[in-house]
Every structure is written in C-alpha cells, then in structure tokens.
Symmetry: C2
Subunit: 376 residues, 2 copies
Amino acid sequence: MTKEEMIECSVCHSKLVKPTTKTVSRAYDQYRSKTPKKNRALNVLLVVGDCMLVGLQPILVYMSKVDGKFSFSPLSVNLLTEVAKVVFALVMLLIQARNQKPGEKSLLSLSTFVQAARNNVLLAVPALLYAINNYLKFIMQLYFNPATVKMLSNLKVLVIAVLLKIIMKRRFSIIQWEALTLLLIGISLNQISSLPEGPAAMGLPVAMGAYIYTFIFVTVPSLASVFNEYALKSQYDTSIYLQNLFLYGYGAIFNFLGILGTVVIQGPESFDIFQGHSKATMLLIINNAGQGILSSFFFKYADTILKKYSSTVATIFTGFASAALFGHTLTINFMLGISIVFISMHQFFSPLSDVKEEENGVLELESVKKTDRSLC
Amino acid sequence: MTKEEMIECSVCHSKLVKPTTKTVSRAYDQYRSKTPKKNRALNVLLVVGDCMLVGLQPILVYMSKVDGKFSFSPLSVNLLTEVAKVVFALVMLLIQARNQKPGEKSLLSLSTFVQAARNNVLLAVPALLYAINNYLKFIMQLYFNPATVKMLSNLKVLVIAVLLKIIMKRRFSIIQWEALTLLLIGISLNQISSLPEGPAAMGLPVAMGAYIYTFIFVTVPSLASVFNEYALKSQYDTSIYLQNLFLYGYGAIFNFLGILGTVVIQGPESFDIFQGHSKATMLLIINNAGQGILSSFFFKYADTILKKYSSTVATIFTGFASAALFGHTLTINFMLGISIVFISMHQFFSPLSDVKEEENGVLELESVKKTDRSLC
C-alpha cells in the first residue's frame, strides 16, 4: 500500500514522508524542551519506582530457588511475565479509552488498532531480542554467580551509548562520554569491593567461548533496549499502552514459540507452564512485569541511559541496605565508587555538558540574534 | 613613603592604586587569553620537565639515605637548595641583562633592584612557609613511610583549590570542582593499590595529635604555593629571575636562621652544613633546586592546579616505570585510578568547563552582539 519512504497518518490517513531517525530524535527533543518541569517530575518518579523494583528482584530470585536451583522452566516465567504485562496494558488501555473526550477517535476502534499495529510493527524486533535475552539471563544466573553477571552487565553502559549514537543518531558531548566511562569505573569499583578476592573467586570466564558468550550477553539486551526506544519514540503519537500491548503481545508469541520448541526437543512434559511455581515465583513474575512496564515509560519519555543510571542507584541502595542488614563494612573502594557514580550522574545530566551545535554553529548565533532583537 | 593603598610604578615612578586580588586575577586572565598557543606550549614544557624531576626524586632520596637514615641535617639540604636556586637566578638575570635592548632600563641598576625588592616584599611570606614545609617534609619522611606521605599529600588538591578561591578570587565551575574531586579519588585509588593491606600496614596515624600534624602538613605547603602564585602574579611586570632572586634570598635567610636556631639548641657541631653529604645528596639538592625553579614558572605563567596535575602524572609514570623495572603487576585499582585521573585532567582544562559569567550574563550577550555586528 505505502511506498517504502511513505507512511500513512493514523488520524487523517494522508500519506506522509516516513520520519528518519534524525527527525525522530529531533521531534522528541522538541517535545522534551517544551515540558522540562513535567519531564523532570516524571523522571524522578520513574527512577524511584525502578529502584524499588530492581532492589526487590535479587531477594525474589533467591526466594524462588529450591535448593539453589530453579524447579520451573525459565521460559514459563518469561511467558507468564509477558502475559501479565499484556493484561496490564489492556486494563490501562480500557481506562484510557473510558476517559476519552467525546470528539476523539476511539482508542478501541478496529481501524485505530489495525493502523497502530501496522505503524508499530517495528516493536517485534525488541520483543524478539528481549525473549532471547530473558532466556540468556536465566542461563547466566545458573552458570555464573550473580556478582559476575552484574559485573559483566556494566559493559552495557558503553554498548548502549554506542548503539544510541548509531541507531538513534544521538550525540553525546565529550563530557558525557567521560561521564559514562566514569559510571562504568564507579560500578566496577563498587563490585570489586563486594567480591571475594582473586580472579578465580570472581568466577570470571577465561575460555574463548566464554568471551563470545559474554559479548552476546552484553550486546543482545543493549540492542533490545535501544531498538525499543527507537520503536516507541518513532510512533510518538500512538498511546503507550497500545504500544505496550503490541510489544508484550509479540513477546508472548516469541516466548510461546520458545516453549513449543522446548516441547519438540524435550517432550510434552515441559509444556506444563505452571510446573514448579510457587507464591515467590508469582511475585517474581509481577516484579519482572512491573520492571518491563516501567522500562517502556523510560524509553518513550526519557531514555535508555537514564534507565542505566537508575539501575546503578538501585544497586548502591541495595549495597547500603545489605550493609545495614547483614552488618557488612563499607569498603573504601565502595565509597570511592559511589562518589564517582554520583559525579558521573551529575555530569551526564548537567546542562553544561549538552552537545553544542558545532556543525551549524550559526544556529546558535541565530538564536542569540533573535534574543538580541527581541531585547531591542 | 607610599600609602597602604598606593604603589609606585617601577618604571615611571608614578603613584598607582594598589592592585586588588580581583584585578590581579583579571589582568593575568587577559594575558592568558591573548597568548593561548604560546601558553599551551609553555604548559607542556613545564609538565614534562616537572615529571622528570619529580620522578627522579624518590630515587635520589633513597640513594641519600645511609642505613635507612639521613646522616646530614635536613636544614642544610634546604639551605644548600636555596643557595643553588639563588645562584641559578643570578646567572639567568645576568644573561637577561646582557640581552637587553639599549633603550630599556637596566635590570642590574640599583634603583630597579631596590624598587623591585620593595614591590615584591610579599614573597617573604611563601619563602617562610616553604622553609617550614621543607623541614616538615623531612620529618614526615622519617616518621611515616613515603606511601603514607604521598597519600596525605593528595588532600592538598582540594585545599589548594579552596585557598585559590579565597586568596586569588579564582572561580571554578562545578565540573572543575568535580574534576578535582575525581583527581583526589584517582590518586587515592592508585595508592591503595600499591599499599600493603589493612590500615595498620598503611601506617596511618590514628591519635588526635597526628591528625593536627596532618592538617598542618597539608595546609602549610598549600598556603605557600597559593601565596607564591599570588605574589609572583601581582608583580607580573617584574622579571621572574629577579622575583626568584628575592624569593630564594628570603628562603636562604629563613633556612639560615633555622640552622642558627639548631646551633643554639644542639651546640655548634651541627653548624657544619656539609656534614654527612655525598654525591647523591648533591644530586638531590640540584633536583630540589630544579623543582623549585620550575614551580615559580608554574605559579607565574600557569597555576598551582596545573602543578598538582603535573605531579600526579609524574606519579603515574613512576608507577609504570617501577612496574616495568621491578616486575610488579598493575592492579585493576591502579588502572581504574589512572583512567579517572586522565578524565579529571581533561575535564578540568576543557573549555567546556570554563566558568560562565553568571553574575553578569549580559556580558556574554554583549560579546555575541559585537560578533553579530562585525558579521553584518
């Protein structure tokens, strides 16, 4: 129906030029600069919520294990999480539709749905990557200890930044790249301090195969997050609940296909998705679903980097909490690491470190000229 | 002769309003912004020279010890260092005077000398503080191990910045304060990695008296450096060799008085200033003299902060050199520490982190207006 460069408007059905990544990022930036206060309040809310959910997760994972192992299929947890998110998105969509003003086009009409589904087909990409990643995550937690998993996860910070630059055409100032490097250093210091000494005790993989595995483990979720941010922002006018519905719908489908594959390989007994589940695993599923929903808000209204900082702050709080609860002493490394993380955070979000319009420096001058004239 | 607020011009002998700290700093800033390229080349030269001298010092100190002790009076090293610096300043002054153009007022005339001496009387303050500090330094090296001395010295970074703000009215941006904190963290990490484990092995003082001692040990040299910078820059037109002559002259006098005091207390045998000296101590004296001379160039043409960064880079090179020579492994902490130091250095000197003229934001606009007009 539409040419590759054209796209149909979901409201007036007119053919439009398909937005490029540059226009996606610009349009979003314009939105941002219009609502700085509302934006900041939302960011704080997102970070606080995320900290609570991320902080709870290791406890729930621990509680879900029976004799140090998971007695249920990891795929089933993922499928149930997707289903929980789909249910949440549906409920929110119904609430939003009820509160619509009389003049507006109904959110629940079939034509809106079909049009939005077509426009948001790109969400299948992050959904697939997430499905792969969720499976990898469980595998990693079985083969490496949680500290090592967290340690390797740190590298995501820089990988995400590089992907944002490539896919979203986002530009970071030198100070911001330095801030991200400082974040990586700060998190690593925090973790070195909490790990037993010696490289052997850290359980770090040394074989070549393990490096490839690590590379995949770091790149897949980073790619998923950045693609998700891209897909959500490129259809900025579609309701986030509708977008979530597609994302989680695709997610549920991919996870279901994964389970079907397992059935083919391992036989039909692994088809019982409720096998081995307990109250703790249900809580884990709700926690996972909550984190997933929050993520989409991060990606659409803030960005992947803020999500990373949020997780780091959560880790720091977990560190303080475990020190308070279990009487661990806070090492010099941990304190130095925290200082670095907070300096990094301030530098990354400081207006001082904003990218200057170097390529078209005239633009800046133009805007000052305007101010100049308006002052006259 | 002159009132407290007035000062006599050294060339035309007219009475002038004494420059305030604000005008000192402004006048210097103007000089800096006029010659950015020449300035940068000089800075690089200063840092390279300083790195070499600072790197050599621990080796010479080690070589100067006999059975782990100094067999000579520390005061005599200081006095001889001051004498070496006076000789150097005199030689350079003679060379400068020979290269003067016929029209210029002779650098060697008595009137120039007396006038300059009167204007630069403030140099006696840093000279006294240095004399005290040099004595403290030797004492510290005897009672604490060198690693602890270096560790405590790190605090100077922030003390110097605070003193520069108070005395020189220098303004640092938030990014620059953060960069200085990062420098402190980076150096500390480097040193934690090279120290034996446990607080006892670090030989850190724990008694209250030791804290006071540490406070003095950190504040005296910081105060000396900042006062030196102030005194040298406030008489920017006086030849640096003439200023050095006064500074080191005062230094020699204070050190001589110190020796006299020792003679009174300990008896005349300690008056033999060459007692216990060897070729190694002579090299140490030349190295000390070289560092002192370089410092005055740092203070007059760059600043105390650049001197601190320079010393840190020297320490890093020493770390690499000792790793290469003695086969030490470089720890993760050391590598993370170095990364932080270099990020800090870039951030501190980055034009992005320059202090904005926040108080009179109109100024910025004014300057753009000018550009604007010149473009029309």
